[in-house]
Each structure stands twice: as structure tokens, then as C-alpha cells.
Symmetry: C2
Subunit: 212 residues, 2 copies
Amino acid sequence: MRTRFDRQLEQLNVELIRMGALCEEAISIVAKSLLDSDLTYLPHALDLDDQIDDKEREIEALCMKILLQQQPVASDLRVVSSALKMISDMERIGDQARDIAEMLEYVVQYKFESRVHIGDMARASIKMVTDSIDSFVRKDYDAAVAVIASDDVVDTLFQKVKDELTAAVAAQPENGEIFLDLLMIAKYFERIGDHATNIAEWVCYSLTGQHV
Amino acid sequence: MRTRFDRQLEQLNVELIRMGALCEEAISIVAKSLLDSDLTYLPHALDLDDQIDDKEREIEALCMKILLQQQPVASDLRVVSSALKMISDMERIGDQARDIAEMLEYVVQYKFESRVHIGDMARASIKMVTDSIDSFVRKDYDAAVAVIASDDVVDTLFQKVKDELTAAVAAQPENGEIFLDLLMIAKYFERIGDHATNIAEWVCYSLTGQHV
């Protein structure tokens, strides 16, 4: 027979998966908008950020209820305290998606050519978010460790994008503002990768009790 | 007579103040290093980031202990849950200081002229961090609201720095990389202001139970 505690932990799991799905959707929309120079779905990305903020508060309230009512110990306590940390990172991912969305209206006017690496960055960071949440759902330590390792890929891509933009600035200084904006967008994707790394680190901690 | 609970809450207060002081010191060092083009104290900033990370875990463990042992309700529960959120923001401030520190070695080689606004940004964001922690210590709602309002100042300064750097890129495209780095440093200071705003919002929540 399932206890009330089991049901609460399962609800926590479901809500975390939902919040993760909202994050994935938000960054996928802004990445696609950037790469296709198409702003059609951008308002939905802003709406998703609001939903992510609401979900954070909902999950936080649930965690507090579990802590106070159930006084969990050992691995259950680690799950709840990791959840409290993970939602902070997910909320920041929503913020970064919003930050990118707010810059896009101006940026997409310019048909920049060297969008290969920024596209690779976007895809790599979305994959990190998906995989980190997936590792949590499946309680898969190795998958979480793989996410942490893949942060280097995003960091390397960021350096490539920065080098391209530095060259672009030198060649077309009159478009300097666009290139500065693109640098910031690339930086946001790099940050999203950092947050996914944090989420994966919390997955490892919740499974083993050891900080990676 | 003071209860064990009172002592634990007081210890939480003291530890939060210590963590805040570490954050202030870290960003003050990187700001001064940038403005004086002097890297002497930079290793200490990196050391402070490690201390900030340790302090976060220490405070987190203390919060969990209080939640499980004391099962606080109402305003005491809000204090503990706000503390858990505030330490995430303080930890990010430490990260931003480290990010700036890691860029400085290259950036300070170039004696850029238009450092007035980036200096103003650094000072304004340090003040926001100091004031947000101060509002927590003094349980001062109005001071916390003032911190939230002052985020606009930092955002406006960021726009000024960005405009200056855009002009600088156009005038000296051969120094493009330096200007891109300076933009990222300015962005880090803007983020520090955002984290101070978050801390102030948690102070308001812990005092009133209402999200600002």
C-alpha cells in the first residue's frame, strides 16, 4: 500500500518533470526563432517563463510540506533538498530564455551568416537540459555524469562563436551592436548549459549523498 | 530563556551575514582590479568563491536541520525557506565574481578609456549587494524595496556601457575582442544586481509572506 509520503514524492517527481518540459520548450522556441529569423512563437516563450516561475513556487511549497509533515531522512531528504536546488536552476533557464527572447526582435533584422556555431550551441545546451532532467527521472547516475562532461562542448562552442564575432566586428564595425547582442545571446546559451550541469550535479547528489 | 530554536535561528542569521560579507569582498576585489588594472589581489577573489561555496553548503545543512528538528511554522518557516533561496543567489554572486576575475588577466592589458560607466556599474551593484544583506539583517522592508528599485540604475548603466562599447568597436575594430570581453564583464555586474534584487525580494517575502 502506498503511503501519503510515497504519493507526495511521486507528485514532486511529476511536477519536476513538468517544469523541465516547460524549460525545454522555452529554450527550443527562442533557439528556433533565432536560427529561422522568425518571431512568430516568441510571445509563447515569454508566457512559458511566467509558467516556469509559477511552477517553481508550487514545487517549493510542496517540498516544504513534505519536509514539515514527513521529516524525511537520508535519501528521501536528499531528494527533497536536491529538488529545491534544481528548481532554482530551472527557473534561471526560463529567465535566460526570456532574456534571449527580448533581444531577438532587434537581432533577427540582421541576416548574419556565421550562425552555424551559435546553432550548435543552442542545440547542445537544449540537449543538456533534456538529458539532465531525464537523468533525474530515471535516477541514472551515469547519464547525469555524462551531462556534466558535455558542458565542455558548449564552452568550446562558445569560444568559437566569440572568435567568429570578434572577426565579424573587425570586418563590419558598422554592425558592431548586432555582434555584441549575438555574443550575449551565445553567453545565455552557455549559461543554460551551466544550469543543466548544476541540475545534473544535484541528481548525482540526490542519488549518492556525495557532491560531484 | 533562549530556546535551542532561537539559538539556531540566530546562528542562521550570523552565517548569512558572513556569507554576504564574503560576496561583497569578492566583487569589491574584482571591481578594484578592473578599475586599477592591478591583478595583485585576484587570487584572493578566487579563494573567496571557494569559501562562498563551502558556506552555502554549511547554511543549507543548518536550514535542513532547523526544518527537520523544529518544524517551524508561519514567519519562522518563511525565514528558513527564504534563507535557502538567498544562499543560491549569494553563491551565484560568487560565481560572477570568479567569472570576471578569470577574464581580467587579458582585459587589463588594454588601457581602455571609457571606464567611467563600467566603474559606476561596479559600485552600484556592490551597493545593491551590501544593502540587500543589510535589509535582511535589520529586517527592514523599506530598505529591501529600495534595493529592488535601484536595479533600474544598474540596467540603465549597462545600456550606457553597451553604447560606449558599440562606438568603441566601430572606432577600433582591431581591439574588438577586448570590447567584447568588457561587455561580458559589464553583463556580469548587471547580473550581480539581479541577484541582489532577488535577495531583497526574499527579504520582503520573509517579512510579509507576500511575493513582491
